[in-house]
Amino acid sequence: MSELCDRTIHELGAGLRQGEFTSSDIVKSVAARITAREPRINAYITRLVDQALEQANNLSRPSADSPALYGIPVAIKDNICTKGVLTSCGSHILSDFVSPYDAFVTERIKAAGGIIIGKTNLDEFAMGASNETSYYGPVRNPHDETRVPGGSSGGSAAAVAYGGAIAALGSDTGGSVRQPASFCGVVGLKPTYGRVSRYGLVAFASSLDQIGPLTRDVTDAAIMLQAIAGRDLNDSTSVDAPVCDFAPAADVSGIRLGLVKECFGEGLDPATGDAVQSMVKAIAPRCKQVAEVSLPHVQFAIQTYYMVCMAEASSNLARYDGVRYGLRVEGCPTLEEQYERTRGTGFNDEVKRRILLGTFGLSKGSIEEYYGTGQKVRTLIRRDFEQAFRDVDVMIAPTTPTPAFKLGEKTTDPLAMYLADIYTAAPSLAGLPAISIPCKTRVNGLPVGLQIIGRAFDEKTVLKVAYAFEQL
């Protein structure tokens, strides 16, 4: 039998209810793994092991009615507010910011019985695809420590992969849950925009940001989504859509799968493509239909995504001014200089680049040509999906064009880094739910992900298809 820290939420829940072990045993197992791996992996910015153990020690044996995460150690990405705990966003500028309140999702995890085991590392302000831009140092991939874990939720993905958490929350703006899930060999779900409240998620690109779980299997992803989904009066973009029972069944006999033609062409590493295709081949006989679909404007997704997200980021990050939240460069003669020097010191290169480009894209004379164009192409990408979903129930694409790349490989070439989101950005622009699950075959010993994209608010079908793939 595997160690407790390597098991799933549903396995541990069953064991807890049967009295095979206690929540303290689980926390101790996770804590021991953190101690062993963390010095190399660096998945956590803040570890809350002592508090977690104290909480676990006070728990009694759960009953059949106990909530789904009862006694389970869950990690939370450090751009999600946690009351009384540092919420740094991986940034120098927020390196002293202790949140005075819990995000909606943090409250929900606690209400479901989850124990917060720590706050995970990320690319600064969730801007990146490699987790190399954090003020707290890079995260390493647990499968190969010379490689990146993906980003921006790289700490959450790595922690779940190495047994440093049973499950974790991340945030996904253009692929930041799915891409690290692919690189670390775990499951990562981006729910429909509006499915989960963003209250207490530090804003990066408000029209795209969405919180989602990283887990060991699809059933756990459903459990986590169940815990965090729903309307919240504190987020006017959270939608009052019915929250169904997400628990997946493997019956896909009525499902029509669509393979996104544009995601299997040039730029895709052949071995990664083969790993995805062999999964599709294996599931095809169980489905109603497998067909190719075309999303003609998906080739413009990266440009569109970055135009939109940089503009929104430049606006959202204007609030970090040295007056509020944390870092202030002292001794400036004027308020304006204090703003400039605080922001110049507090942000790293990637955040600065995005603020500069976003400011460019929103400036008078450029706004129509850049932000306006981005918003219009976004419409075309949405329409492509709407059209294709007339013929299929879910769409399949690789999550990433390659397995995890080497640390430092793309740090001097921002454009190459942006292309790591090439298959994940389009569903984000359309606000659609999408999941990354590990393929059965690895590429040079490294995990790669298969992405399943669904209709808006149809996470149920996405999870069902993901579960069927997992059962192959």
């Binding site: 290169d349 500069l356 460019f360 622009l429």
Partner: protein
């Protein structure tokens, strides 16, 4: 251009950053240009992917967050502390430029 953008976005940049970001932003903006090939004349922009319904939460009394020290670490005598601005000479109050073509 980067120097000007730095000013607009209140980011102090050193010469090395101005040079580096200049090259990188030029390349990225050139990459964005590929969207010019699309005919977008009759396309409506998307600013929200969902139909956002305007609604308000109930206007009820809630517990006040005891959070000022977290959000504003530089408090003095119950006020937010910033560099003196009242007696700044008017010439130090530089206007905010929004036209990139100014420079």
């Amino acid at each position: 251009m980067v120097r000007k953008l730095g000013k607009l976005s209140r980011l102090a940049l050193n010469d090395d950053e101005i040079e580096r970001f200049g090259e990188q932003t030029d390349r990225i903006i050139a990459y964005f240009q590929s969207l010019k090939a699309l005919d977008l004349k009759s396309v409506e922009p998307t600013s929200h992917v969902i139909d956002v319904e305007c609604w308000c939460r109930p206007d009820e009394r809630r517990e006040t967050l005891k959070c000022l020290p977290n959000l504003f670490p530089y408090l003095k005598y119950g006020y937010f502390q910033v560099p003196r601005i009242i007696d700044e000479a008017a010439d130090k109050r530089r206007p905010v430029h929004t036209e990139l073509s100014d420079e």
